[in-house]
Structures are given as C-alpha cells and as structure tokens.
C-alpha cells in the first residue's frame, strides 16, 4: 500500500503542536522508578567525578494553595556546569560533554525533594548581558495540565542584581526565586520551596 493511501485519507500529521496533558498520579514507576527496582535513567544526584563546580545540595518542598505538601510531583532541573557550560551547547558557548546537567526527582510523602549537583556558573543572556547563576526547573504533577517553569537563583550572588531575567520579575516577588544558603557539616545546602499557589507563590515563567 502506498504512502498516499496511508496519509491521504486523513492527515498523518496533526495541524499544530501536540498539546500538553497532566503527568497524572502514576508516573513514578517509569519516570522516577527507584522504589520499583527497575532501571532508572535519570537521577537526583547529577554530580559526576569530572563535573566542574562546587558540589551543592538543593532541597525543598512542593506546596499547594492550601499550604499542603504535594506528594505526587516530579521535578526536573537543567543547568550549566561551574564554568557556565551547557552540555550539548554550540561550541561558541563552551559546550561541555562531561557534565550532563539534567536531573529528575520525585518528592517523598512529605512533599520533600533533594538534588545533589554543582553550583552553575554564569551563562550568556540576551543582548550581550550575562545571567546570574541559575537552574531551570520544570514541575510536573497530578493537577498540572502542563509543566510549570521556574528558576533557582542563589542567595549571596552579586550577579543577581543585574540578572536580565530577574529584572523582569516584580521586585516584591523576586525572593521566591532565590534559594537560601546554609552549611550542614561539609555540605552547602540551598533551600528552594516551590509554592504553586497563594501567599508567596513561586514565580513561574512562560517562554
């Protein structure tokens, strides 16, 4: 049978971008299967021996509009290494293939998550600007019909003051994007809570 027959009766290609649907409540045994004993291809610990940058932990809770923890969320992070290099970037942006820069985590029964990564360096921004160190975050959950996109910035970074993306965020909401730093033993821990709705709601982006 010909391609014409196969694709001619009804169009084989949809007429636009495929819409998003919720990840639902039952994704964990494929997307974050560490409790199912099956092979996990993404991890919440993305520090590789060859990763350039200071090792850090990023911890927090995912919280709904009633202040209740969300227990069926999934977070994804995407970041540059300590020298500001993204894996797979074009060579002129200083590609780095050693550090993957991508992590995925579920949350526990308290809505708590924790990543181990390295602190990212600065990367180019629009129109010749430089961005402050940051991590792109995708939030998926039952009840989220499409991914929420936010960014983690870091407390104590002078570059936050001139970051071109933070500058687009109303001043009184910027603090929701800045992870608080503390030390715990030898670890540097940044706390970043994600409030989907309500008082001190996290800033989410559209891009």
């Amino acid at each position: 049978m010909t391609e014409a027959r196969r694709y001619g009766v009804q169009p084989g290609n949809p007429d636009g971008v495929t819409p998003s649907q919720t990840v639902g409540p039952f994704f964990a045994y494929v997307l974050t299967p560490h409790e199912y004993g099956t092979r996990e291809i993404f991890s919440k610990d993305i520090v590789t021996p060859d990763a350039v940058g200071h090792p850090i932990r990023i911890e927090g809770y995912v919280i709904d509009g009633d202040g209740e923890p969300i227990i069926d969320a999934m977070l994804e992070i995407w970041q540059a290494d300590g020298d500001g290099r993204y894996a797979g970037a074009a060579p002129q942006h200083g590609a780095n293939t050693a550090f993957k820069g991508f992590g995925r985590s579920d949350v526990d029964s308290n809505g708590f998550f924790a990543f181990r990564t390295v602190k990212p360096g600065q990367v180019p921004g629009p129109d010749g600007t430089t961005q402050a160190p940051h991590i792109n975050v995708g939030v998926f959950a039952r009840g989220l019909l499409k991914r929420l996109f936010t960014r983690i910035y870091f407390q104590g970074e002078p570059a936050n003051a001139t970051d071109p993306i933070l500058a687009l965020v109303p001043k009184e909401r910027r603090h929701t994007l800045i992870a608080a730093r503390r030390s715990r033993g030898d670890d540097t821990v940044y706390t970043f809570n994600i409030r989907l709705q309500g008082e001190d709601e996290t800033v989410f982006f559209e891009a």
Partner: protein, 237 residues
C-alpha cells in the same frame, strides 16, 4: 530585549493551568500571572538523551515478562516532528500506561481491577533518523477516578518526550479513536479547542495493523519548533 525564537503562539492549543472541572487544578494552578521571558541559552539548550538510554526490547511491552499479557495487542507508531514538519531524530520517548483492566502497577493505584503479572506498562524508545518510533503494547483499559461522581478516564497512554531543548519538553497523553468517554473527561476537555484536542487521538490504521497479531495505530507528536526564517541576530545560533 531579544526576540522569541520558539514562537509562543504555537502553545495556544495547550490547556490552561486552572481548569476547575479537573478538581486537582484548583489548588495547584498559579494564581499570579506568568512572567514572560526571552529565550536565553538556558532555554535554547536542553538535555540530550538518545540511544544510550534504551535497551533492546524496551519498546515491546508485551515481552517484558515470562508470559503474554492479557488484552488486545496493539502497535503504536508514528513520527516526532517539529511544527515546521522537520523530523526530530534520536530523541527519547518514555511511556506508561494501565493494563487491559485499567490498573497501573503504581503503589497508589487502588482501583480494584486485577494486576497482570505479565504486564508492567513501562516503555522507552528513541526515534530513528527520520523521527520514527514504534511501540508494541496492550490497549489500556478505562479506569475510574475520584474527580467527580462516576468519573472514568478514557483509555490513554502517557508519553514523555524531550526534543532538542528545554522548551520542546512535552508530557502528554494519547487517546484512542471513538472513545465514548471523551465527552465526560475533564482532562481531555481541558484543551478548549476541538482541533487541538483531536491532535491527541491516535488514528487506527489498517496498514499498521499486523495480520493475526496486533491492531495498528498511527500517532505523530509535534513539538515546538524554531522559527523557520533565519534570524538576523548572529548571536542566536
């Protein structure tokens, strides 16, 4: 401020965050406006996962156990394209679904329908050089949920795709043609535009159907694409 590279208008088919008929959105949708930002290197790059992530047989969900799973065997195949029709090669697709009785192996699925010891409902595949993919599986059953009285999800398969950048990431669900539950499902109907909704319905295809073996469905994914016209700004690669 620099221009958008992936057109935002292409997302017009997406559901809103708040769709009150889907009760879980009420306390999980942002109440403040999203902040629109330009596409920087952080959005234009993205994790690249290809063939190293999948193993032989990850795309045949009927052969992951000693015996044959119960239910109606299906083949789901198609292409991953961007919105300009360009294939998206070597990109990871992850899939999860209920068994033929409408039950997930997930620990929190309490639907009193049987688990199938020969079916997990987990699959992975990487698109080939023309963006093609293929899964063999079992048609998932409809299942009840507690969203409203007598609420049932139409049969669906969950899919997760990466594409070439942070912005092309897509998590969605594929439905089957002619499902009588469509009018009653707030998740499917969270997509306001009928044409956009119909992009999530697979097409039964007799050519894909394998004689004496499996019913065939065609389903193409269309991810966001960069503007087809070259940009003047030399810094945007």
């Amino acid at each position: 401020m620099s221009r958008t590279i992936y057109p935002r208008e292409s997302l017009s088919g997406d559901p809103p965050y708040l769709h009150a008929d889907y009760a879980s959105t009420r306390k999980r949708s942002p109440s403040k406006p999203l902040v629109i930002i330009p596409h920087t290197l952080s959005e234009l790059t993205g994790p690249v996962y290809g063939h190293e992530t999948v193993q032989e047989g990850d795309n045949d969900l009927t052969r992951q156990h000693l015996g044959e799973p119960l239910g109606e065997r299906i083949v789901v195949t198609g292409r991953v394209l961007d919105e300009d029709g360009r294939p998206v090669p070597n990109t990871l697709i992850e899939l999860w679904q209920a068994n033929a009785a409408g039950r997930y192996i997930h620990v929190r699925d309490q639907h009193p329908a049987p688990l199938d010891p020969n079916f997990t409902g987990a699959g992975r595949v990487v698109t080939d050089s023309e963006g093609r993919y293929r899964f063999t599986s079992i048609k998932p059953g409809a299942y009840p949920w507690r969203n409203h009285p007598n609420a049932w999800r139409p049969a669906h398969i969950h899919f997760s795709l990466f594409g070439p950048s942070f912005l092309t990431r897509l998590v969605t669900q594929m439905y089957f043609p002619g499902d009588p539950l469509f009018p009653f499902d707030p998740i499917f109907n969270s997509i306001a535009d009928e044409r956009a909704r119909n992009r999530l319905i697979a097409r039964f295809d007799i050519e894909t159907t394998e004689p004496e073996w499996a019913l065939g469905y065609q389903f193409d994914f269309v991810l966001r694409g960069r503007n087809a016209t070259p940009l003047e700004d030399p810094h945007d690669d």
